[in-house]
Symmetry: C2
Subunit: 217 residues, 2 copies
């Protein structure tokens, strides 16, 4: 690790999913360098000629195997001391994946890879705790005026499941009647003429009206 004449550019991705009604993020355990043993969000250097979004998607594919996810740029952190070994300018992204995918058994780059509740993170490497806060705040705001929750759910779902996603993200309970009124009135979802059968009264199934990002107000 030598100090370059100019900063290098990296992309770091906060990957969210909902697992057991809890909002979790994917952490990797750093193998080498001054932060060896500490956890962080996955990331990697941006090679010349590759766009930032492409690097982020590649990182995501390598870590989770998933390609079709929601991805949004968050903020760029450029303080020179976050990584003591070099000045790395880190472009942060957040991503939403619909389920906690099976993780590759051994990644050559990281000691371990785990899904961890975003509200109980340890002290992270590279000042990534600030990044986690930033990502959560943005996500909480954005589900309020967009349809991006579609990327956290399968094609068909009950309104109770949709509400559980919102509650996991916001960290508080919502009123069921107001919630249903809202998402239907906004045209966020459309009813399928299907039901899910379970141990209790069957739930009507719904699908998102659009599975591409749309702002709703």
């Amino acid at each position: 690790m030598t100090t370059a004449r100019l900063p290098t550019v990296a992309v770091d991705v906060v990957i969210f999913t909902i697992d057991e009604d809890e909002l979790k993020t994917l952490l990797v355990q750093v193998k080498k360098g001054p932060f060896a043993g500490r956890w962080a969000f996955p990331g990697g250097l941006v090679p010349s000629g590759e766009s930032l979004d492409t690097t982020a998607r590649r990182e995501l594919r390598e870590k989770t195997g998933i390609h079709d996810v929601y991805l949004e740029q968050l903020y760029t952190f450029g303080e020179p001391n976050r990584d003591p070994s070099a000045h790395v300018v880190s472009v942060a992204y957040f991503a939403l994946v619909s389920r906690p995918v099976r993780l590759p058994a051994d990644d050559p780059k990281y000691a371990r890879v785990e899904w961890r509740p975003v509200r109980k993170l340890p002290r992270l490497a590279y000042g990534h705790n600030a990044l986690a806060e930033y990502a959560l705040t943005r996500l909480q705001a954005k589900i309020g005026y967009s349809n991006i929750a579609y990327s956290l759910l399968p094609a068909e779902f009950s309104l109770a499941e949709l509400q559980a996603v919102y509650e996991a993200i916001l960290g508080r309970r919502l009123d069921r009647r107001n919630f249903r009124k809202r998402v239907l009135q906004l045209g966020l979802v459309r009813a399928l003429s299907k039901q899910r059968r379970g141990p209790h009264r069957p739930a009507a199934l719904y699908a998102f009206a659009r599975r591409t990002p749309v702002l709703t107000e």
Copy 2:
């Protein structure tokens, strides 16, 4: 200009001011390279060891001589083809200055420097038109839920002057009574016991309650 093995990092700053009730931005005319003769927003490379905010403030000081401004990071553009001569990752900022400062007669780096209405920009170098749109959208949203307009006004001002700033940014007229009610009720400004005398009825003067960034809701 050689193609580096890794992208370099630059900061570009959209500097806004209000001049003659119009929202303007500072443009520089590029002297060299493939975009010679075209206009762009001022910017510069980030040296190793300097934070992005510091680079942005330095750029601002060099171009306008002003230090005490509002500065906020906007977005990072990383498409490799924006500058055909090298892959430059550009971290965009926007800044607000209270008046169109006198510009240095000759900058070694730029052919000319001018304040231009943000809604009548020419085709800019480095894909900067997208940046202008992005900055304006953010600014319009942000004056709605923060006090950052303080940085576009002197210490004392009339409510009509404050309203003119909001109208210049939003590009539409506002209702005077609703506007006054709003800013007073939010505690955004406080009345001074002073008046400005002019050709007509004197206007009561106000000051911002706080001259540091605060979100109002």
